[in-house]
């Protein structure tokens, strides 16, 4: 008799367990390009970093002119995804970017990418006149209107145009990270409210306006997602990829230094206003500084095959650094007038510039000098314009 009931309960258990079995895998919903390259990338491209982030513009920088502009980009896609035109298809890039559409395995989702090949002399003058409007990490094909209401995750990023009028996405900022978390909480309505914004009243034409902003997030920095309490406005050459556990490491500084001329001076024009509020409990107070100040520097560093960048927490300690130019502390105080600044390049790490070597260069500007540590005064604002790298004549 006893056996029967044991059996009975066993059956119950088994039926529950069976209905909990792992089902067949559903087709993936992802539609990303993970890597992009071309044949002979090392020979033809300046930066053959094959990893593709969230940006929907993929730019290959060519080392030199090719007879034609026909390339056959090859892609690695997220599992199961397909791409049109297919990976390895030869296309003519003479007339600018080509559009690629990635479709997820379940056919329900698509993501559009624009791929281009550009040839550009190393840019030495940055007038900060041009920008693109982004939503999340996708470029919005529309004009920016300062008075318009936008979704909270819409922001601007500065770009440059090549001689052939092609987009070069050499500038980046923390705006993309800001769009993911704080912007929604702060209910931003216009890209002008972002830490990195465009100002239409620059020294010449437009300028970059960098502000130190309260993020409105809990910032105990003890949780697993670290959310900083302030975000200093920043502008740098390189890319940004959000790092949730070390937010300060999200910026990846550096673009190819495709010239064999030694850098001499970093210069430009600035205006600066320091904030004086450090949070309710002085929680963003500066270390060894009485008043907030801005920072501008350039670092020339050796090109590496892996991790070819300096991240936001480099703290001027990287072994890769060859030359550094940084504005002298205290030399460029607060001012409401456009004022020139300059910093000379100096050798570091007992290294010297070798014209035959390949280098990367990072230009970095921030509205709070200790912004990478998330220290700074709320309201500190830096305007920056007409940046120039002076190079030695050959």
């Amino acid at each position: 008799m006893k056996k029967n009931y044991l059996l009975f309960s066993l059956f119950l258990l088994i039926s529950v367990t069976l209905s909990s079995c792992i089902k067949d895998e559903a087709p993936s919903k992802q539609a990303y390009i993970l890597e992009a390259t071309i044949a002979d990338a090392e020979v033809l491209l300046l930066n053959h970093n094959k990893k593709v982030g969230d940006e929907d513009i993929i730019i290959f920088q060519l080392k030199q002119n090719k007879e034609d502009n026909i390339f056959a980009p090859e892609f690695v896609l997220s599992p199961g995804a397909t791409i049109q035109p297919e990976s390895g298809t030869s296309l003519d890039f003479t007339n600018g970017p080509q559009k690629y559409i990635v479709t997820s395995e379940d056919h329900a989702w698509t993501k559009t990418y624009y791929v281009n090949f550009i040839l550009s002399e190393f840019p030495t003058y940055f007038n900060l006149e041009d920008y693109l409007l982004y939503k999340g990490s996708a470029v919005l094909q529309e004009e920016y209107d300062v008075d318009e209401r936008y979704a909270s995750d819409v922001y601007i990023n500065f770009i440059s145009y090549t001689d052939k009028n092609e987009v070069n996405t050499l500038w980046s900022s923390g705006n993309q990270g800001f769009s993911i978390m704080p912007a929604g909480k702060l209910k931003l309505t216009n890209p002008s409210q972002y830490p990195t914004a465009v100002d239409f009243d620059g020294y010449k034409g437009k300028a970059a306006k960098l502000s130190t902003i309260l993020t409105g997030l809990d910032h105990k920095m003890t949780g697993f997602i670290k959310t900083p309490g302030i975000a200093a406005g920043n502008l740098f050459t390189g890319t940004f990829s959000l790092n949730m556990s070390v937010p300060a490491a999200s910026p990846k500084f550096g673009i190819p230094y495709n010239t064999n001329r030694k850098p001499i001076t970093l210069k430009g024009f600035y205006k600066y206003k320091a904030g004086d509020f450090y949070g309710a409990k002085n929680e963003f107070a500066l270390k060894d500084l009485d008043r907030d100040t801005w920072d501008a520097y350039a670092i020339l560093f050796e090109k590496t095959t892996d991790k070819n960048y300096l991240d936001g927490v480099h703290n001027f300690e990287s072994e890769k650094m060859v030359m550094v130019a940084r504005i002298e502390e205290g030399s460029y105080p607060e001012t409401e007038q456009w004022t020139p600044f300059e910093a000379n390049f100096k050798n570091v790490n007992d290294k010297t510039f070798d014209p035959s070597k390949e280098y990367m260069i990072a230009l970095v500007f921030t509205s709070s000098i200790q912004g990478a540590d998330f220290r700074g005064a709320i309201g500190s604002t830096l305007w920056i314009d007409e940046i120039e790298l002076v190079l030695e004549d050959n």
């Binding site: 008799m1 006893k2 009931y5 009975f8 309960s9 119950l12 258990l13 529950v16 209905s19 909990s20 079995c21 792992i22 089902k23 067949d24 895998e25 559903a26 993936s28 919903k29 992802q30 539609a31 990303y32 982030g53 969230d54 997820s104 329900a108 989702w109 698509t110 993501k111 999340g136 990490s137 993309q176 769009s179 993911i180 978390m181 704080p182 929604g184 909480k185 997030l217 809990d218 949780g223 697993f224 997602i225 959310t227 959000l242 790092n243 949730m244 556990s245």
Partner: protein, 256 residues
């Protein structure tokens, strides 16, 4: 419909009780043909969808954790041969588990101090559930042999203490859509979630089980409970499937 049928079955003995009571007025209802019992139990189970959804690719680990319960109940035997009875009780019980699972295209929401991110997640998920309920079980009891009783019925539960949280790790979260901006969680990086405030205050479900008489006072029992309504509020959409409390209770009872 199925539920209504179960309720009817569970409540029928009550009606019979009323009938029987009238016929035996001279005897004290609370003494005659009554059994009183206290029980202690531990529970193995979890908050699980019935039939794992396709988003769940792998269960890496499962820990039932130590979930204890205490119950007092009374059984009124309805027939002189004590074949049929009805039992009501009061039980304080913990229901919980810890799991590690791997998911794909799992729609969820990550919270952080008032900021929330909605989106899709591929990777690993850790879930910790620890809820405490006050439960009123109502069962019909049937004596099969002098040593064996089986019982079944419904229960109503109120939530006293709640915890439903966890974190995602070693994976990728895509904001807003399956092709949105990616946030990678590598190595030690974690994205926490806390759905504690979304745990439903009221639960009801069915239970079925059996008890074995060890000696005059001691009984061993085992029963299975299943919650009809989800553990989390039905308007909560950060998880695309409904999860139910499914628990196997094991324990002993002392009968006075």
């Amino acid at each position: 419909m199925k539920y209504i049928y179960i309720i009817l079955v569970a409540l029928m003995p009550l009606y019979v009780t009323a009938q029987v009571t009238e016929n035996t007025k001279e005897e004290n209802f609370f003494i005659h043909n009554m059994d009183y019992q206290v029980r202690a139990q531990f529970s193995i189970g979890g908050s699980s969808p019935l039939g794992l959804p396709r988003e769940i690719r792998k269960i890496d680990s499962y820990n039932p954790t130590l979930q204890l319960g205490l119950e007092a109940n009374a059984t009124k035997w309805l027939t002189v041969d004590q074949k049929w009875g009805v039992r009501i009780g009061l039980r304080f019980e913990g229901k919980g588990m810890k799991t590690k699972a791997e998911v794909k295209d799992y729609k969820t929401r990550i919270f952080y101090e008032g900021t929330e991110l909605n989106g899709y997640y591929d990777g690993k998920v850790r879930t910790n559930v620890r809820n405490t309920y006050i439960t009123f079980p109502i069962s019909a009891v049937y004596r099969i042999t002098p040593k064996w009783n089986i019982y079944g019925g419904v229960y109503l539960s109120g939530l006293i203490d709640k915890n439903f949280d966890g974190y995602v790790y070693d994976g990728t979260f895509r904001k807003d859509s399956p092709v949105g901006d990616r946030i990678n969680f590598k190595d030690e990086e974690r994205g926490e979630y806390d759905f504690s405030d979304e745990v439903r205050k009221f639960q009801w479900g069915a239970q079925i089980g059996g008890e074995w008489t060890l000696n005059k006072n001691f009984k061993l029992f085992s029963d299975l409970t299943y919650g009809f309504n989800g553990v989390l509020r039905s308007d909560f959409d950060a998880i695309s499937f409904s999860m139910h409390n499914i628990y196997l209770n094991l324990g002993f009872g002392y009968q006075f």
